[in-house]
Symmetry: C2
Subunit: 326 residues, 2 copies
């Protein structure tokens, strides 16, 4: 046992030194400003033992929207780019798609016609590309696609178009005993295959929209088959519902960027004790994109008004972030 103890002590010393190094500059890509100060102030208050705002570790739950909060969502949601590429890949087996909307428009890259079809058209494309295979097969499709797909403007894989300041924020919260969750309108099984590697968020801490699955024995081997039927939409008023379903307790901090995150931030910040709400405002057309009240993707209108009313922190991307991407 003596050697094990020695190893444990050495490990601890190493970890302590590492955390000292990290603590020296936990949010290196954030400019010193109101947003950074508000984050650090909140974290210090909830971790201070004996302080009025102390929160025990198990209750330090932080929830993050994904699209536009942790990674890029322009010119279109990344998952929509995946859908369009999957339609193209599957087209040879579906000759009828050449003359059938919304598939025709998807094949021609005619996003306007796809958008004009509304939710119904989008749903048709999602079901044709996301259902009919096992959960394992779908995870492989997502991983394979992300390994080669590139963003049309930045010519980099989407998994490199995550926000460096937010990666630092995730790490800073975890270093202070927080459990970090994704709570996204995007597909839960679209995010899980890469969220652990890219964000350090394991599959069980990803909440998202989903289709139904069915358990089957195929030649004696159990599989889960993805069905063309909506199970849950984790957006807007669905976000607090998804949080309760998966986490079962109210977060103390919520991070979003659009009106789709409004109810999640309301739910989070309405609890007792210290609470934190933050909105990423896309203000940087040069380094990323600038959009808010009039945008069709990631519209930030009501939530921006509510942020002012409730004292939520608003990140001005252009002012607050030294770098955007890693």
């Amino acid at each position: 046992m003596k050697r094990q103890l020695l190893i444990a002590i050495m490990l601890t010393a190493a970890l302590a030194l590492a955390s000292i190094a990290a603590a020296a500059e936990p949010l290196a890509s954030w400019n010193d400003g109101q947003a950074k100060r508000a984050i650090v102030d909140f974290v210090q208050r909830v971790i201070t033992t004996g302080g009025a705002d102390f929160v025990p570790v198990p209750e330090r739950i932080a929830v993050f929207d994904n699209d536009g909060t942790l990674w890029i969502e322009r010119p279109m949601y990344v998952q929509l780019a995946f859908v369009l590429d999957r339609v193209k890949a599957l087209a040879p087996a579906h000759p009828e798609w050449k003359d059938k909307q919304p598939f025709k428009a998807a094949l021609e890259g005619d996003l306007k016609t796809v958008a004009d079809g509304g939710e119904h058209a989008l749903l048709e494309l999602v079901m044709a590309t996301h259902a009919g295979m096992t959960t394992d097969a779908f995870a492989r499709l997502v991983k394979d696609w992300l390994a080669t797909a590139q963003h049309p403007r930045f010519n980099r894989p989407y998994t490199e178009l995550v926000y460096q300041p937010m990666l630092e924020l995730l790490a800073y919260l975890r270093a202070n005993g927080f459990k970090t969750y994704i709570v996204s309108g995007g597909g839960i099984e679209f995010m899980r295959p890469w969220a652990e590697k890219v964000y350090g968020i394991p599959p069980e801490q990803v909440v998202g929209s989903s289709i139904k699955t069915r358990f089957e024995l195929r030649d004696g081997t159990p599989v889960l088959v993805r069905l063309p039927e909506i199970n849950f939409i984790d957006d807007k008023a669905g976000k607090p519902v998804g949080i309760q379903m998966h986490i079962g307790r109210r977060p103390i901090a919520a991070f979003g960027n659009s009106d789709g995150d409004l109810q999640m931030i309301q739910w989070t910040t309405a609890g007792p004790g210290a609470r934190f709400g933050l909105i990423v405002h896309h203000t940087d057309a040069d380094r990323e994109y600038a959009y808010d009240r009039q945008s069709s993707v990631g519209r930030l209108d009501k939530a921006l008004d509510e942020a002012g009313r409730h004292g939520w922190t608003v990140v001005d991307m252009k002012q607050d972030w030294k770098r955007i991407f890693p």
Copy 2:
């Protein structure tokens, strides 16, 4: 920093000593027999770095059924006792229940008539007692009920009628880097209010059946309201579906006691690498109950056959457990 380092080293030493003490007798209430040996053998194989069966910590996921696996399920599911008591508590506001089935039978404690009404009758009782309030209010109802309700035979609170050997098993797995989950046919929000205190399992590691909820602003305050509508049944073929939804990866160990756990154990043990399936066989009418193939509650028939076929471990409660309850 020097003092912090010293504290860290002392903490580690203390933890190391504590784990040595615990390791001396990790499964004290288990008799030395095949079941205990199979558990220890499995755990040692998956934690041995460099071994053929080594499993990294994040993938050490273990799932446990609740009723009949972690706590008592006879003479009726504990949640059904809660339902019946709630019907009685609500009866003064529902004079019509005196002449209306299945409420009449529930009020008279006539379980046979309730059972004869089948799933539909049960569902009516559940909806009348589980819906219509906020999630916070429901959690309080559960906690208040458990604080006073007693088991009719053992005259002890239900939370004391958990299986001591299984508590030790949960602790042993966690001490070896496992994340322990409940995956139960019971209500997810019926288990969460007490699972952390009784089992050491936090709300986010509880998977169960659920009704739908709706986000509302009541006088500006956000609430989640429980609706009289089934959301998900986490039983039989639903258990692997619930596991995928909440955990997003396949467990490596599954523990159950009835045919309701069959698919969960199939799904768990069919994965690659070291896998473990275990079934608690209720064989002890003196100290608890004895039931299996013919039982209406917790029937163990197909799963017992499958256990033999696949080499899952079967616990003989009478032979394998020194004590039943704490």
